[in-house]
Every structure is written in structure tokens, then in C-alpha cells.
Amino acid sequence: MVVGKIVKIAGPVVVADGMKGSQMYEVVRVGEEKLTGEIIQLRGDRAVIQVYEETTGIRPGEPVEGTGAPLSVELGPGLLKSIYDGIQRPLTAIETVTGSIFIPRGVSVPALPRDVKWDFVPTVKEGDYVEGGDVIGTVEETKSIVHKVLLPVGIKGKIKEIKSGKFTVEDTVAVVETEDGEEKEIKMMQKWPVRKPRPYREKLPPTIPLITGERIIDTFFSLAKGGTAAIPGPFGSGKTVTQQQLAKWSDADVVIYIGCGERGNEMTEVIEEFPHLEDRRTGNKLIDRTILIANTSNMPVAAREASIYTGVTIAEYFRDMGYGVLLTADSTSRWAEAMREIAGRLEEMPGEEGYPAYLASRLAQFYERAGRVKCVGSEEKEGFVCIVGAVSPPGGDFSEPVTSNTLRIVKVFWALDANLARRRHFPAINWLQSYSLYIDDVTPWWQENTGPDWRELRDEAMRLLQKEAELQEIVQLVGPDALPDRERVILEVARMLREDFLQQDAFDEVDTYCPPMKQYMMLKIIMTFYRKALEVVEKGVDPGKIAKVPVKRDIARMKFIPEDKFLKEVAPELLERIEKELEALVENP
């Protein structure tokens, strides 16, 4: 192994000589304390290393040892329910091992527990031909997720031996004889370099919406399975709550939650809450399908840079088993700042606002790792990774480099609005600024699964909301009474859309999750009200009276009624009453 000597130290960046023979992005152990670092530049036999731990106290002359391997994550049973730092060190185990509330330097604990024995059930038999990506057995990792043990990519051959029973991740569970006669011992754990995307056979078009149960997201600004979305928002606009809602309710099999340079107490809230919250889809606990990566703002900055890659590699691994994965990163701005900090220490030529010139390409590469794919392997498997990145624009300015570069890549934009948050309109997603480029792709799904008029309803509702914004400006000047009757109806219905449809109570037991069919019916009821109201206004009914019909109060209560009851009893009755009560206004004006 290469052993070099430190010649320079500046914050998280260390330069070492005598490193000839080492590779780019190789992991090294720095100094007497063996801090973890990664080579980020090679010039002659001199290597520039970013160190994932605090470097205070390190001296020139101390050794740097190469490990021969790039920064990699361990993949195998034991990932779920874990809480890792940015370079996949298990924080719970570190607490146990060190007995300290702090994270000291130079601690080395394996990412996957070595002492746990998993019940391995083979799914192939001796003599079967297998190739990289194929499932050779399963382990019930948690109540929610069956871990499929994959043959590492690159291996192809005949199963010579396959075991069954209880094994640790390091035990051999199978032997594969490759085509050139070599015997490979297969273990449940494999490693993968984080900066290299895991391969897939084919990317599939994003045609299925990811159902999140948030009405404004699902109905108006839908995210497709395998798609990418950004949530930019100034502080206090509910960014974290929105991400947590997604993590809790969306119909992905596995959720990876990266706390990248954010508050410690916020991560703690997730860590404390998820083991108790019920996963609506399986009835088990949410933590059973969750992996947390917590590299809070005060943890080393280089590890923050790595945390995004660690998270997305684990996401791809579960995708390769045929699962759907939602990855949320809070916040990508802090990730970009980590890149900026490292680039600054390297004295690189800065781009916009001091960010490195490669900011845009790094962001693009990261989001490009999302997608719905046909997985590698000889079997037919389909999985997806959705990436939702939070952005924290300084001063709430969306024109800054991280926000603007992100918007060039992602297909969905959920614009959080501090003004809405201040008015206590939650989720505070601004319907005029937000967009989704997946609407056309997912329309067939919605039409098939809800009603054929889904798209018309959605577009018409959107037009009303836009029209309302225009009308509001006039109202500010002349008051609502000066508007023509038709437009007063628009104002009234737009208000219903905002209050009775868009606003959603994350803390109400029923309203926190709204299934697609219920979303469709709620929208249909409001839009039926609109059409009928227009009709009766044409017949001379005063819009002021329309605003007072009793059915409106019950429309406002729709969101709190459970789906079953709503669809069977409440919705048909409401549709009938809209017709009757509005028609009655024509008869008794």
C-alpha cells in the first residue's frame, strides 16, 4: 500500500507527498490518528486530500496511508433503520462504542453490523446460471422490507454451492463458478464506490405518479416515479415539514432521508418520531423502511459533501432489488456550500458567487441518478429512485446559483412561499410559481385510476386560481362589488379551492394523507359547484347568495372525512345537494 507524508494542512484540505501509485478518489488514512480522507487531486507524487474529520493537531511529516479503494458504501442487510453520517459511519453504534455524546475523531465502526446473523433463504439452486444483479436469496430485514441479496455486478456464471440458514454479512452464502472456471465466494455484503452510478439495463419513461397524499402536489404539481423535484424556500416557510410529510406518506418502498448540513435538533425529531409513526401502507413502523443520513451543519464539511453520494448509492442499491425509493436531501444548498468551501481551500478559480465552476455539472450528475429503470440482471425487475432536493436560497433569492442551476435540471418545482406560511396557509406551496413537467406523462394514469375528466378538472381549477390572482389586483383597487357577477363567482370558487382543497392539515389524522380517488372527487365537487354556480348566475341569481348556500359548509368539511365514507356516502350526497340548493336559488331569487 502507498504510504506518503503530509506536507501541508489547511482546514479540511491536506497535501501529502510520496503518494505515487494512488488513484483519484481513493480513500486514505491521514496522520497518526488515521482520520478518513479522500484524494481529490493528484499532481506527480503529490496528492491533495479532503479529510472527513477535524484536522486540528495534525502535523506535516505524519503519514498518509492509501487503502487502494475509492470511497465506498457497504451494501447488504442491516442498512434499513440505520442512522449514518455522511460517510456511512453508523451513529448509533458510534454512541455505543465511544460512550460519548460527541463524535470523537478517528472512530472506525463498520457500517453494517458484523455480529448480526440474518436468516438467508436462497432463491436459486445449484447449477443455475446467474449474472450480476440477479437475486440469489432473500433476508427479511425488517417487517416492511425483504432484502434481496444481489449477485455483485460483473460476476457471471453457474451456482456451484448455495447455502441456507443464519449468516453474518461476511459469511459466504454462495459460490459461483465463472465462465473461465474461477470460483467466486459470494457474501451478503458488497461494496460500491459512491461517486459511480450503479448500472441499469434501460431507463423507462416516468409515467406513474408518485402518490404523496398531498393534494397540491399530487393533483397540481405531480412528481413521477423516477422523477426529480426541488423545494426552494426561505427559512420558516415549512421546507422541512414538507419533506417530512413526503418521507412519511409517499408510496415508495424505501425512503432515504439525508439531513445535509441542517439543524441537529431537526434530525433528532426525525430520529425520535419515525420509530413510533405508523407506515400507512404496511401497518408497520415508518423506520422499518427508512434510512437516515445525518450530517448536521456542525459536522465536518467534507463528509457533508460526500453525504449526498452515500445516500444516492444506497438508493440505487434498493432500486436494483426492484424497489421504489424516495430520496430527500435537505438541503442541497449546504452541499453546494461544502463544495465551495473545499474548492476555496484548493484555491480553485471561483465561478458565480464563489461556487466552483463545476457546480452545475455536479448538480446535474446527482439528479441524473434518479429514474425508473429496468434493473440489471437476467430477471425482469423494475425499480425507481425519486430525488427531492431542498434548496435554501440566501435571503430567499431564487436567482442565486444553486437555485437557478437546480431549476435547469429538475422537472418539478414546488415553490415555498414565506407569505403563505405567515398567513398560515399550509403546505405553503405557491400555486402560481410552482410547476411540474410530468403532468402530460402522468395524465393517462390519473384518467385510468380516477376519472376520465381528471385532466379537464385540474386544468380548469388551475385557470381559476390564476384568474383569481388577476382579479385580486382589481379588487384591491375597487372592491369586490364592482366586479361582474361571473367574476365574483370565480373569486368565490377560487377561495374554496384554496381553503378547502389546497390547504391541508399535516397534523389532522385524516387530512394528513389524501388518497388519489378522494383528491379527484374533492376537486370534482368543487368544480361542479363552480359550473352550477355559473349556470345559475346566468339566470340572474345574486353571487352573494351563492356564497351562502349551506352545502358550502359541508364542502369545507370534506377533507376531514375518511376516504371510504367520503366516496360512498358524502360525495354523492354533496353532488346532489349542489344541484338542488343552487337550483333553488333560481326558483326563489
Binding site: 489547511a10 493537531g57 502535523r59 511529516g61 455524546i101 439531513g259 445525518a294 448536521t296 440566501p394
Partner: protein, 462 residues
Amino acid sequence: MEAVDKYVEYTSVSSIAGPLVIVEGVKGVAYGEIVEIITPSGEKRTGQVLEVREDIAVVQVFEGTTGLSTDRTRVRFTGETAKIGVSLEMLGRIFDGTGRPIDGGPEIIPEKKMDINGYPLNPVSRRTPDDFIQTGISAIDGPNTLVRGQKLPIFSGSGLPHNQLAVQIARQAKVRGEGERFAVVFAAMGITSEEANFFMEEFKKTGALEKAVVFINLADDPAIERILTPRIALTTAEYLAYEKDMHVLVILTDMTNYCEALREIAAARNEVPGRRGYPGYMYTDLATIYERAGRVKGKKGTITQIPILTMPHDDITHPIPDLTGYITEGQIVLSRELHRKGIYPPIDILPSLSRLASKGQGKGKTREDHPKVMSQIYAAYAEGRSLRDLVAVVGEEALTERDRAYLRFADEFERRFVSQGKDEDRSIEETLDLAWELLTILPREELKRIPEELIEKYLPKK
């Protein structure tokens, strides 16, 4: 202290720029190591290694480089990283920004030495803060409830009474009904000697000093020293909280001066500047200070932080308040407009926010009606304030009866609820009762955010 001859001494200073000294021909110098600098006149100063290359060390001198020369300056490398000796005797004492006593008392005999940079708290070891701290100030306790382990900054402006407010909080803050040990660690950075005297007098006069540790870096002390002050203060706080089971309130003022010092060093090192000349790593740097608040598993003590910063030009989007807001759990915003109206403390509750407020409010913490009544107060005040703008356009006569009630509510709210004496220590019950009393100004049917049974129980009958 260890014997001096243990240190390696160099006279090979090759250049001096701003607060930085470059020493050549050094050997075995550690990154972050503490350095003693002896000036040509024999004065001793302290510095820290910012960067080392094979035989060159870049040293930042905390007391500034005035009077240093390249040929007759001696530099000793101590082999130690920045540490502070801590002990319980520090309570009741006043120190300078680097931890030396300045109250005429004896040196501290340390119980142990601790690294001032500390280590990051393991997120797994934290517990969500949820114990109510009563500051006795209605505008904080009511709508912006502070809990133990929270970091809640005060965003102020030049000329606003944030210092008085800080002293009042330091004096009055308590956790109710518990005889637990409480301490205040107070760190002032770049304040004037007038302000320093004010703080010291206030602490002495009110007896608050007994349970306080005070660190003062004056405006004419070297700016660089300010980098150390909050870290020394927080290390002391961690010692008191996690080793001596005390509930510690840390007040840091003024973080703006701290950030200026950070910028000064970055500029002296020719670093690539980020927004408005502040270094790109300012977020990370501030986080290593603010994130040292918390409540952890298995420890009785906690650290609550109230950093104070003055917003340049009262601009909340300036990098200092902006980055702070992204790290801290809310903010208390002081308003120049309220101050002009003669209201003390001039806290504007609308832009203010405590993200952890809901964890410290309600039954078992304060009183059952707390969250609901405050939600109503907040909504009513917001309504009253927006009506004020309207009145400016159309005149009060054009308003309805209801609107006039809201206007009166907003005025009374500022005059009676927000405003209070500099020594007035209101219990949470007094604060909540006052809120109810103010709500009688509004028509009863306007109280839509409070359940009927609470209105029945608490609303004073007219």
C-alpha cells in the same frame, strides 16, 4: 503551565500581513496549534496556526500584529491546541475574550482543560428540547416560547435596546417549579467599554453575577480575539451543563462583530470571498457555534443559546441574519418602529418565530389555553396591523365597528402586552391572563381559533 523551555522557539518570521504572521523553517508544527509570540518589546501575545506547509507556518495573532517586526519577533509553538482550563470557580467571575480574569480576582485553578473547538454532538445522542423557560417577558413567553436546549437569536439593529433585553433575560430566566441549578454564560464580542460597564454593573447590582460566567472582548481588543470568545464561552457552558448538571443559558453578543472578524481574517488570507465579502464557510463556522446548544440523553444539564446580532441597515436578508436564521430555531426580531413609539422591549411578534414553541406550551408545560390563545392573539394582531395601512389610505371613519375593534386591539396589545418594565418579571399566568383581557376588546364571535370551552373558562366576563 508547562515549563517554557519545552517550547520550540523560532525567530524566522518572514512576513507579516494584517493579523497573520508567516514563520519559516519550522518543524513539527501542528495545524491549529497555539503559538506564543514575543514582540520586540518583550510583550507576550497568543496566536494559532492557520495553515502549515512543510517548513512554513501561517499564524494568526489574536492580539493583532502592531509592533511586530520580521527580524526581532520570537515565536514559540506550544504543541497544544486551543484549550481552556475550566472549573466551578469560574461562576461569578469576569474574564477577557481569551479567558483571562479581568475582575482583579485570582487566576482560576482549572479542574480540567478542554478543547475550545469541542466536538460535534452526535445527532443520535440529542433529545428534542421541550421544557419551558420562563423569561418573564410576555412577548417571548407568550407567542415565542423558549425551551431548554433551544437556540433562539435576537435580531436587532444599531441603537435598539437589545443589551437591556439581554440583561433582563439573563436575570429573569428560570425553569418553573424546579430547584435545579441554573447558570448564565455571557460572552460579549466587540462591545464598547461603556456597554461592558453597563453589563458588569447590571450583573453586580442584581446579583445575577453569582450564577454567571462573563467573557468580555472589547471593541478595541483585537478583532481576531473575537474568534475565540464564543468558543471559550461555549466550552465553559458544556463543562457546566454536561459535567456539572447545570442548566446553562448562553448569551452571545454581538454576533455581527464576530462575523466581521471572520471576514477580516479571510481577507487577510486572500481567500475567495462569498456573499458581501464574507467567507464561503461562514455558514459552517456559525453552525459550529450555534449547534453547541442542546439537550442530550443521559445528562441532566442543558445549553440554551440566545445569540444577539445587529442587522446591518435593519436588513434581515443580510448574510449574517440570513445564515443565522437557517441554523437557529427561530428568531426574536426587534423593531425600530416600536422602539420609536417608546415601547420596551420593542419585539415585533409578526416576523418573530420560535420553531420549538409548541414543544414548550400547553398543559403540563405552561397552561392548557396557551397555544390556542396565542394563535388568536397572533391572528388578531396581524389583522390589526394590516388595517393600520388601510386607515392611512381611507381614514378611520371608513372602517366598520369590527375593524375599529381590531385597530384598538393592535394598539392595546403593543402598549400593554409587548411593553413592560425593564425590571418587570411576569409569570406565564400573568402573560396569558393579560392576553385574555386584551381579547375582550374584540367581539366574542371573532375568537374563532379558540375552542368554546376555553373561552368559557378563561375569557374575563365584561
